[in-house]
Amino acid sequence: MKTVIEASEAVALGAKLSRVKVCPMYPITPSTHIPERISDYIFDGEMDAEMIHVESEHSAASALIGSILTGARSFTATSSNGFELMYEILPILSGMRLPAVMAVANRAVAGPINIWNDHSDAVSARDQGWVQFYVESSQECIDTIIQCYKIAEDKNVQMPVMMCLDGFSLTHVFENVDIPEQKQVDSFLPPFKREDILDVKNPKTFGPIGLPDSFMNFKKQQQDAMINAIDVIKKANLDYKKLFGRGYGDGLIELYKMDDAEYAILAMGTICGTAKAKAEELRAKGKKVGVIRLRSYRPFPVEALKKAFKKLTRLAVLDRHISLGSDGPLFTEINAIAPGLDVFGYIAGLGGRDVTLDHMESVYLDLETGKQKREWLM
């Protein structure tokens, strides 16, 4: 069924359609509409789930440990400061291999305090063992949340997944969304089954202390699981496409006019739409330009990216985060996998600063002339 809804509602509907059982949630702008919609569903009896009105995001993430360990599919959402308050628990959830799913409405981290969009919250947690998706549209939100559970619960992955959507510039946007049928979602996503649960008939110990003789082995297993996730993400994207007719690139990256492109912009999230619009315009003028939208930031799809870079002369990476004292994290990481490629790095859209078509034009111009290599798009 097609209907015009807010992206936050698409996220909430994705959780509902995934038959989530427990939602420990705490409000923070711009993620608030997600717990609000889920509360509506639960309080109206449309969603058979428990809402836990936790007193902090730290407790939201902690309650996920408890609820998932009873075998209940669970969901939460947050942004910025709330995300940072959860930070301690993020690697504990992944270290315990718990398939939590969380929507992150990306917002700049304070200070100064700022409620607007950039990627400084989620990107700064890239090393914490969560699969990280960055999405571009409301449709992708609902589709991706459902896929997140499929990926997180895969026996070869068993890692938590966060779906990042840009605060305001996506969370609060109304778009036409094709809402999947529950029956079809059920056939894509079977009920959550987990052997390792808190069960008085079969007592097990969870979260023991890992001494130096075991800790590194746990980390190696997590890394292996993350690498496994690459194929699982691709398959989820493909299977979903077969059932619902929609896919997002190969699940890892999405290529726009890249077949013969010489110059490309690589970014994550909604600014890719702006880059695509500019690329379309420049294409009409005969310029060989394209866009690479990175959908899966973790796992980092090295092979898919390298393949996409093959025909490129120059690449511009737009980071919506700055690793202060170093550089844009995406820029640094792309450089590391593309030694022969001329990579330009731009810091863009911090704390909600607009990233405009003119910015995109100037970036493509830089690529063409080869002049500017590093810049903050102010």
Partner: protein, 304 residues
């Protein structure tokens, strides 16, 4: 199987764990679990008990047990409670959340308060050894006044901890819980009854357990039980329960021993002078008088 006095022979916190000789906290845990029985899920905070009981791949726990972090046992228990409810599996299962004094009085207080406000059905047990023992005996909000710890040392200028204990049990009772109690290994029958009562209630309940720490208190390992008894006899750690808002003593002390007898067995009070002993005695008297003043009265509003 139960012995003649009703305390189970069954062990759910098994021997072989790595707690120190004379550890009061391990003793308390063992008896909590005997009373709670096999149908119990435990969520435990970071601290000595978590560390000594689960060096991977070993475990001392014969019941399902989970540890997440230092300050979140109550939040994890909230998730367990609702997770079981959501799947129709809540019936007949006890949930216990446990933390040391640091986890309960200080860093995990917000999570505990939130869980109590929501009224989840589980019992929170604060095992109070009056300092952050796992990290090397640092001061907590539960450290006894004038006790020296590694962060409130008996300095030349300042003699140990300068503040009273945070009255956690009363703060908890003020949340509207219908059962709050203190308990001690010096009275195992009382402890058993309290654990059973707490677990039988339909909402959050709270137990405050007295735990001697020979390493942190600089006392003899062999003195754990003697100190536990003295804490009651000197009125340092009174045994009471607040049932439906009404406080009753469980082991009333009519003729208290001087606090000095309790202090003298512990190196952490070695530095206190006569004047300070007087002050501690007054602190203990005042607290007991306060309990007497509310004894038998509905002193706390009950919401659950």
């Amino acid at each position: 199987m139960k012995d003649v006095k009703g305390i189970s022979y069954d062990e759910y916190f098994a021997s072989g764990h790595r707690a120190c000789a004379g550890c009061g906290e391990a003793l308390v845990l063992r008896h909590i679990m005997k009373a709670a029985g096999s149908n119990t899920i435990v969520a435990q905070a970071t601290g000595c008990m978590e560390v000594v009981s689960t060096p991977y791949p070993q475990t001392a726990w014969k019941v399902p047990w989970v540890h997440g972090a230092f300050e979140n046992a109550a939040a994890i228990a909230s998730g367990i409670d609702r997770g079981l409810i959501a799947q129709g599996k809540r019936e007949g299962v006890n949930i216990i959340a446990m933390g040391g004094d640091g986890a309960s009085f200080d860093i995990g207080f917000g999570a505990l308060s939130g869980a109590m406000e929501r009224g989840h059905k589980f019992t929170y047990i604060a095992t109070d050894n009056e300092a952050y023992m796992n990290t090397g005996v640092q001061r907590s909000g539960a450290t006894f006044p004038y006790a020296s710890t590694t962060t409130s040392p008996d300095g030349k200028k300042i003699h140990g901890k300068q503040e009273p204990k945070k009255p956690l049990a009363f703060i908890v009772a003020a949340h509207g819980l219908n059962y709050v109690a203190s308990m001690s290994p010096a009275n195992l029958f009382d402890m058993k009854k309290k654990v059973e009562t707490a677990l039988s209630r339909n909402h959050t309940t709270f137990l405050h357990a007295y735990c001697v720490c020979p390493v942190g208190w600089h006392c003899k390992s062999a003195d754990t039980m003697e100190l536990s008894r003295l804490a009651i006899q000197t009125r340092v750690f009174p045994l009471y329960e607040i049932d439906n808002g009404v406080l009753q003593f469980n082991q009333k002390v009519e003729k208290p021993k001087p606090v000095k007898e309790y202090l003298e067995l512990q190196g952490r009070f070695r530095h206190v002078n006569e004047e300070e002993v007087e002050k501690i005695q007054k602190y203990v008297n005042d607290r007991y008088d306060f309990l007497l003043s509310i004894e038998g009265k509905k002193a706390f509003d009950v919401l659950y």
